[in-house]
């Protein structure tokens, strides 16, 4: 029995753009359905650096972009203060750098005009000795250094927060739901889509007045379902994730080809990256190559000579949906965005596609897209996504009090607070059963509490164990899930009604998923950790080839 859904807008794609648009629509009272093929944010959004930066590099070409980025960065901080964290940057200047310190400083002084928009601080200029005092790991070849700051965000939780708000206000959010067919009238007008739930296997027909294709790098594939051509210049980027903070400051590093990269603190870790290469391979199986890893480490080593002593946990990879531009090097392509109206540019009226853009300005893009959709729908409400806080952003959580009240460790409640903000209390309360099971730690590395997993299953639509890597950062630490996958599966089995074979398959999938992330960068202490990982998977759980994806 195929479900029938009627709505005004079908948003396809649950990354930052899709969820941002769904939230904006919901806030304006427009019924919408969001369909995401995998997990929210699991595509490009999750693989981004998570920096909602102000766009320093665009100052030369287009200060408008910088200004908008800074304004939007400020907006994101206001609406989701619990998800963002400040990242002070250190920008070393080497004698062989193409730009001398004076020019760099002029650039930063230009940037200083915009930083108040994003609650940033003005730059400072440090001598070599002062820079080394603040960050002893820096190379002593530097001439001088500058500091500035940007803000970082947990991109997957940001997607989640947008989706939660949308769902709270009436949107239907479907994960692990694929669009298998775009429905059209004989005239060519797009009227909806046929969806298939990839876990349950059942289908649904969605009738919608408008369809928004916000699938990021998959946009051309999806557009082809409506027989529309869409051009992108997909740009692959990788990051290396270190087991813990290399520094609490982000440090600029130049690649051998002059590209700017950084090693920056992100949540519990540091990340190093990123790359930008044209990519035409399988978007669902993006490999991390030796060259990319070597390129990133080589760059980092110039700024931080001891970088190779730090334990690399795994790599993350994604593909940017960069706007198409012929002839330019990847880095020089515009980070601007474009909303394609397939009625104007093609012959599928009623369908729109988002192309280009970046995480930092997602809210602006969503606002622009929603404005256009609402104009067509005749909805006059204005955008309020910059004013209203995202779930959790309403107030600051009193973390020490929560730790005491619920008898949980400070580290655990801190992480809970960073993911759920004001709603941390509700998460803990929901986990309080007669035996206080919710207080138990499930994943020691993050840490993740039992209560948070239950909350994700009951109130956030969690459906698969592997998705916990994004939602609650389970299994992405030192043990890569060896110690916690089975326990987490037990919690979810209870909440979601999994039988034993299903639980085991989920555990196997997580184990293989982590191996894929670790293998390309396997080395150092991580090898011993994977020895333990395999002992658990093969020695204890008996995971066999046929259930390993």
């Amino acid at each position: 029995m195929t479900r029938q859904l009627r709505t005004r807008v079908l948003v396809i794609g649950g990354g930052i753009n899709g969820t941002g648009i769904a939230r904006d629509l919901a806030l304006r009272g427009v019924p919408c359905v969001l369909a995401e093929r995998r997990e929210l944010g699991s595509g490009t959004s999750w693989a981004s650096s998570g920096m909602i930066h102000g766009g320093l590099r665009y100052l030369q070409k287009d200060p408008e972009v910088t200004e908008h980025s800074c304004v939007d960065s400020g907006a994101i901080q206001r609406i989701a203060p619990h998800l963002v964290f400040r990242i002070p940057f250190l920008m070393p200047v080497f004698p062989d750098d193409p730009l001398g310190p004076e020019l760099v400083e002029i650039g930063l002084e230009m940037y200083d005009r915009y930083v108040p928009l994003k609650n940033g601080r003005p730059h400072t200029r440090l001598t070599r000795a002062q820079a080394l005092a603040l960050e002893p790991a820096l190379s002593d070849r530097i001439e001088c250094a500058f500091t500035l700051d940007e803000w970082g965000v947990d991109a997957a939780r940001l997607c989640m927060a947008n989706a939660l708000d949308a769902a709270d206000r009436g949107a239907t959010v479907l994960t692990h739901t694929e669009v298998v067919e775009i429905l059209r009238e004989p005239s060519g007008r797009v009227t909806g889509a046929r969806l298939k739930d990839r876990i349950r296997g059942d289908e649904a027909i969605v009738e919608a007045e408008l369809v928004m294709n916000a699938t990021g790098p998959w946009a051309p594939q999806l557009a082809r379902l409506a027989r529309e051509e869409l051009r992108l210049r997909p740009g692959k980027g990788i990051h290396l994730v270190f087991e813990r903070r290399v520094s609490n400051l982000a440090i600029y590093a130049k690649g051998v080809d002059g590209r700017d990269m950084f090693t920056f603190p992100h949540e519990q870790n540091s990340m190093a990256g990123t790359t930008d290469d044209d990519y035409y391979g399988d978007l669902d199986r993006i490999d991390v190559t030796e060259d990319e890893v070597a390129y990133v480490l080589q760059a980092m080593q110039r700024s931080i000579p001891g970088i190779r002593e730090h334990r690399v946990l795994h790599a993350i990879q994604g593909v940017r949906p960069t706007l198409f531009g012929f002839g330019a090097y990847e880095d020089e392509l515009s980070r601007d965005y474009a909303i394609v109206d397939h009625g104007e540019s093609g012959s599928a009226p009623g369908m729109y596609s988002m192309t280009g853009g970046k995480l930092a300005s997602y809210r602006l893009m969503a606002e622009d897209a929603t404005d256009r959709l609402c104009a067509v729908l005749g909805v006059g409400a204005s955008c309020r996504t910059a004013e209203l806080p995202l779930p959790g952003g309403e107030a600051k959580a009193d973390l020490p009090a929560l730790a005491k009240r619920f008898g949980v460790g400070l580290a655990a409640v801190t992480r809970l607070g960073f993911r759920h903000g004001a709603r941390a209390r509700a998460v803990l309360e929901a986990g309080e059963d007669a035996h206080a099971r919710g207080r138990r730690t499930v994943c020691a590395c993050e840490p993740v509490l039992d209560a948070e997993l239950r909350h994700a299953a009951r109130a956030e639509g969690l459906r698969k164990l592997t998705d916990c890597t994004l939602r609650v950062r389970l299994g992405v630490g030192a043990c890569q899930g060896a110690g916690c996958a089975a326990s987490a599966a037990a919690v979810l089995a209870e909440e979601l009604g999994w039988d034993a074979p299903r639980s085991m398959r989920e555990v196997a999938e997580l184990a293989a998923h982590r191996w894929r992330a670790v293998a390309p960068v396997l080395g150092g202490a991580q090898v011993a950790a994977m020895e333990v990982h395999r002992h658990v998977s093969f020695g204890m759980l008996g995971l066999a080839e046929e259930i390993l994806p």
Binding site: E290, R308, E309, G407, D433, A434, H435, A436, R437, R439, R440, T441, V442, A444, C479, A482, G483, A486, S487, A489, A490, V491, A493, E494, D499, A500, P501, S503, M504, A511, A512, R516, A519, P520, V521, L522, G523, G524, A525, Q526, V527, A528, M530, E531, V532, R534, H535, V536, S537, F538, G539, M540, L541, G542, L543, A544, E545, E546, I547, L548
Partner: protein, 467 residues
């Protein structure tokens, strides 16, 4: 020792896991002078409690989720026979010769296990099992695992000799979910086509301090104390029945597990067993390591607590260990047994650009003869998680006396031996022979080292079996 009144000669054993302990105890029993140098625990301290000896042969899978072996689980000696025929690069080939001599292999395994049991008994850590019968032990998540031999606390959980099983519920305990265990266990039993085993969950009324809210480690330590033991025994009184097994989480004491289990069995009338647990709750590995440490102390073996930075000595010279203790202390020895393990133990290292054996830069080979040292770890890792991984079956190659070979194919040193996971050619997590290799090669290396001290050993490698 040498009959002409010379200095008896000193053997340094590097590593104090099962392989190193077995080597040192064998040497001490043979009257050799032993110094054991060990920095910290390795893989031995992380085991779940089973001692795999017979192996899973290539082609005969480990217990799969689906019922490929429905009702047809091979006995340990049958598995051993298959294994011997199918694994020519496994260390067992060096220990037992060709695959035909199954009887000899069986006898040596049984003898070794008896010795191990003797070493562990004074700490109350029993060793159960034989090559004539399997045990099928439940893990914390509820999967079933074939075991040849097993430590006392987990041996009690054997489902093959139980007529019913009751899982003890401790809802506040980290890492323990009785319902999930029971559900998974039911499915495993069904998939194996075993007779129906009635499963249930029991909820003993526990005093607050024994509910495990502070975690399994604290609960286990608490249960070492007599008053806690009495309280838990009282809570399980009468929960037993004929042929019933009470399955507990991995918390039944750290040092006083034996009296605790005895008290629980007496009070409940049931057999008591712990579920197999993996890190970070691997309490049986912890108990095993402590029992081995106690056995080494009892044997009066000199112990230096330090990591070794390097070992020097070529051909037939005296060997010298340089310690990584900040002062660079040196220890000289006439023979050395390397029982340093793999990556967990530090016997193998994955430095920035290359995997290596840090003490002597010995060449490392996987089961197919591929060199693994000198290249980055990720190059020896294959994409699919379930694929064979050269990186994780790599170690040193040895001659029949367990002397590691250099890249020229000859023993690196006449009196340098290797034992345990440091030996390459097998993947412990897949092949289920890990502790068997450790124990047997440790004993074998100890004997070989003692023999080497008895007379001047030439640099040539004589083909020979067990001394």
């Amino acid at each position: 020792m040498s009959g002409d009144g010379r200095d008896p000669g000193r053997v340094a054993v590097i590593g104090a896991g099962l392989a190193g302990a077995a080597a040192a105890l064998t040497l001490a029993e043979a009257g050799a002078q032993v110094v054991q140098v060990a920095g910290g625990p390795g893989a031995t301290a992380l085991v779940a409690g089973t001692l795999d000896v017979a192996g899973a042969s290539p082609g005969i899978p480990t217990l799969p989720w689906r019922d490929r072996l429905r009702g047809n689980v091979l006995l340990p000696r049958e598995r051993l026979a298959l294994h011997r025929r199918g694994a020519p690069t496994h260390p067992y080939a060096q220990l037992f010769g060709g695959g035909e001599e199954i009887d000899r292999a069986e006898r040596e395994i049984e003898a070794a296990m008896l010795r191990l049991a003797g070493w562990l008994a004074p700490e109350g850590l029993a060793l159960a099992g034989s090559l004539a019968a399997n045990r099928l032990l439940p893990s914390v998540p509820g999967t079933l695992r074939i075991a040849d031999y097993a430590l006392g606390p987990v041996a009690g959980g054997d489902v093959l000799t139980a007529s019913e099983l009751a899982v003890v519920d401790l809802p506040a305990l980290e890492g323990w979910d009785a319902r999930a265990l029971a559900r998974t266990l039911a499915h495993e039993l069904d998939a194996l086509g075993l007779r129906k085993l009635p499963l249930s969950i029991v909820h003993p009324a526990l005093p607050e301090r024994l509910r495990g809210e502070a975690g399994p480690a604290r609960l286990a330590a608490q249960l070492d104390r007599p008053e806690a033991r009495a309280a838990l025994a009282e809570a399980v009184a009468g929960l037993g029945a004929e042929g019933r097994v009470l399955l507990f989480p991995p918390v039944l004491g750290l040092d006083a597990h034996a009296p605790l289990i005895a008290a629980l069995e007496a009070a409940s009338g049931a057999r008591v067993g712990e579920a197999l647990a993996f890190p970070p709750y691997a309490v049986n590995g912890y108990r095993l390591q402590r029992a081995l440490d106690a056995a080494l102390r009892r044997a009066g073996i000199e112990r230096v607590s330090a990591r070794v930075r390097s070992v020097a000595g070529a051909d037939s010279d005296r060997l010298a260990l340089t310690l990584a203790d900040g002062q660079g202390r040196r220890i000289e020895a006439d023979a050395v047994v390397l029982a340093t393990g793999r990556f967990v133990g530090g016997g193998l290292e994955a430095c920035t650009e290359a995997v290596r054996e840090p003490l002597l830069a010995l060449p490392l080979y996987d089961g197919d003869g591929r060199r693994v040292d000198g290249i980055p770890a990720w190059r020896s890792a294959r994409k699919g998680y379930g694929n064979e991984q050269p990186l994780f079956s790599a170690g040193v190659r040895t001659d029949r006396r367990l002397r590691p070979l250099g890249s020229h194919g000859r023993p690196h040193h006449a009196r340098l031996f290797a034992a345990g996971d440091l030996l390459g050619g097998f993947d412990p997590s897949r092949e289920r022979t890990g502790l068997g290799v450790a124990l047997l090669s440790g004993i074998h290396a100890g004997r070989a080292a003692a023999e080497a001290l008895r007379g001047p050993a030439g640099a040539s490698a004589e083909p020979g079996g067990m001394p």
